[in-house]
């Protein structure tokens, strides 16, 4: 095994381990902080796969914005630092089973689809901003635009929901 492979395996272990801690820890804020570790380890994996751009987007969006949003919501609802009881519902085994099923489906489809694909690590332009941008705005421009319309719809929906002025209530 090369150094890169060892590093990749270690980062993968960190990602899986911290992901397990996210769902098993008794404190919700700890779960959010372990999620930071998981997402950071994933960003490291992307870097090693030469997807530089995706790696930094991962850090900027997920660690810098999504987790901050999560922590904000948690701070609004739960102040005490002590461990909380009653955060586990009876659905836990069901959720675990479902998660395992989804993971199995994803892993098997990934392995089936990309079994023989190899990345040449010496050729470092695989995932640079230039190649990513070019792919996004040439071959993938339609899905990209469709996704942006979807996001716009979600934005409008959020505004409609938050303006509870039915019948000029304000």
């Amino acid at each position: 095994m090369s150094a890169v492979e060892v590093l990749f395996a270690l980062l993968g272990l960190v990602a899986v381990g911290s992901a397990l801690l996210v769902v098993t820890t008794a404190r919700l804020v700890h779960a959010a902080l372990w999620l930071v570790v998981t997402l950071g380890a994933l960003a490291g994996c992307y870097l090693l796969l030469a997807a530089e751009f995706v790696a930094w987007v991962q850090v900027l969006i997920y660690v810098g914005a999504v987790v901050v949003l999560l922590l904000f919501a948690l701070m609004l609802t739960r102040a005490p630092t002590a461990a909380e009881a009653g955060t586990v519902t009876a659905n836990r085994p069901l959720a675990a089973g479902l998660a395992v099923l989804v993971a199995a489906a994803l892993v098997s489809s990934l392995v089936a689809g990309f079994r023989d694909v190899r990345i040449d690590l010496d050729d470092s332009v695989v995932g640079s901003a230039e190649t990513t941008g070019e792919a996004l705005f040439t071959s993938w421009v339609l899905p990209f635009e469709v996704l942006s319309v979807l996001l716009l719809a979600a934005l409008v929906g959020a505004i409609v929901l938050s303006r509870s002025t039915r019948g000029g209530g304000r």
């Binding site: 902080l33 900027l60 901050v68 701070m75 102040a79 630092t81």
Partner: protein, 317 residues
């Protein structure tokens, strides 16, 4: 072997700059603020105009007892200052001071710096939550709300010079810079600087640490070295924001005699921007929470979007 030595040297220089420049800004703040308020500031430490004041402060911080509140979440509480400080150190690596004078010239330099800078706020949030103090918690919430509002104009404004230069590399942006960008990119520069001030929670955007309302926000319970680390993170943030503004909008090392004195130009421009950061603290009163939010969403975001549209039109045409 030579390559290895060079990497170590570069890292050492970055760490030295990381430790010295924030202190320089801190000392300038002491003196400049004092004179703006008709005081003289520190005069005794070190003899000459109190130049060693911050060294003395550092010694004082190191001697203080490290207190952790009984109800606090110990691990998170102790980890928070490191999480707040380290991202800035990492971001310093990618800031170019002169042609080739950079810790590590990254193809995605701008993106890297923005991404890494956004991690630092987690430290303050962790401190705010783990202190088990209602003032800390309120401060943490204010930080989160402020960050979410200002991250968007900050990134949008930073994108504008990158689009104009056609590259995300910080070195590339400086090389593509022309003097007329000063006029053309002015709105983006103002938005970037103001949003950056808000991200660093510097006055007038210091609601999260408003001392007359919530003691010192998330840092209320911190003492000794851990508190000093938070302070160092704030001043390292000022240096980073000033350097980024200089590199993105003021042309970095471009100027007369840039062949020999390029690095000096970058440092001078960074210093001027850092002085404006200090000046803003003395000149403006603290913004209220609703003023903060409406400034971000009603002024900065539209201006940044308009600038992006303008840059797109000019860059494509």
């Amino acid at each position: 072997m030579a390559e290895w030595v060079e990497v170590v040297l570069r890292v050492l220089v970055v760490i030295a700059a990381f430790l010295v420049l924030p202190l320089l800004v801190g000392q300038t703040e002491h003196k400049a603020m004092a004179h703006m308020q008709s005081r003289v500031g520190p005069m005794y430490a070190g003899g000459f105009h109190g130049w060693a004041q911050l060294v003395a402060d550092g010694v004082k911080f190191a001697q203080k007892e490290d207190v952790v509140p009984a109800a606090a979440d110990r691990t998170v509480f102790k980890l928070a200052p490191a999480v707040a400080l380290l991202p800035y150190l990492v971001a310093f690596v990618a800031i170019p001071v002169g042609p080739g004078l950079v810790g590590q010239d990254l193809d995605l330099g701008l993106f890297f710096v923005l991404a890494v800078m956004s991690v630092g706020v987690l430290g303050s949030l962790m401190g705010g939550w783990a202190s088990a103090n209602k003032y800390s918690l309120l401060g943490g919430m204010r930080i989160a709300a402020q960050l979410m509002a200002y991250e968007l104009p900050f990134v949008l404004a930073a994108v504008s010079p990158a689009m104009a230069a056609g590259t995300l590399s910080l070195t590339g942006i400086v090389e593509a810079w022309q003097w007329w960008w000063l006029l053309w990119q002015l709105p983006a520069m103002v938005v970037f600087f103001v949003a950056g001030l808000a991200e660093l929670r510097r006055p007038p955007f210091d609601m999260p640490v408003a001392d007359s309302e919530i003691v010192f926000g998330p840092y209320t319970e911190y003492t000794g070295l851990r508190f000093a680390l938070f302070l160092l993170a704030e001043y390292a943030g000022i240096v980073l924001l000033s350097a980024l503004t200089a590199v993105l909008f003021l042309g970095g090392w471009q100027g007369p005699f840039e062949g020999a004195l390029g690095w000096l130009w970058t440092l001078v421009k960074t210093g001027v921007v850092a002085f404006v950061v200090i000046w803003a603290r003395v000149a403006y009163p603290r913004l209220r929470e609703d003023q903060l939010q409406s400034l971000a969403w009603k002024v900065l975001v539209p201006v940044a979007l308009a600038q992006l549209a303008l840059t797109t039109v000019v860059a494509v045409a």
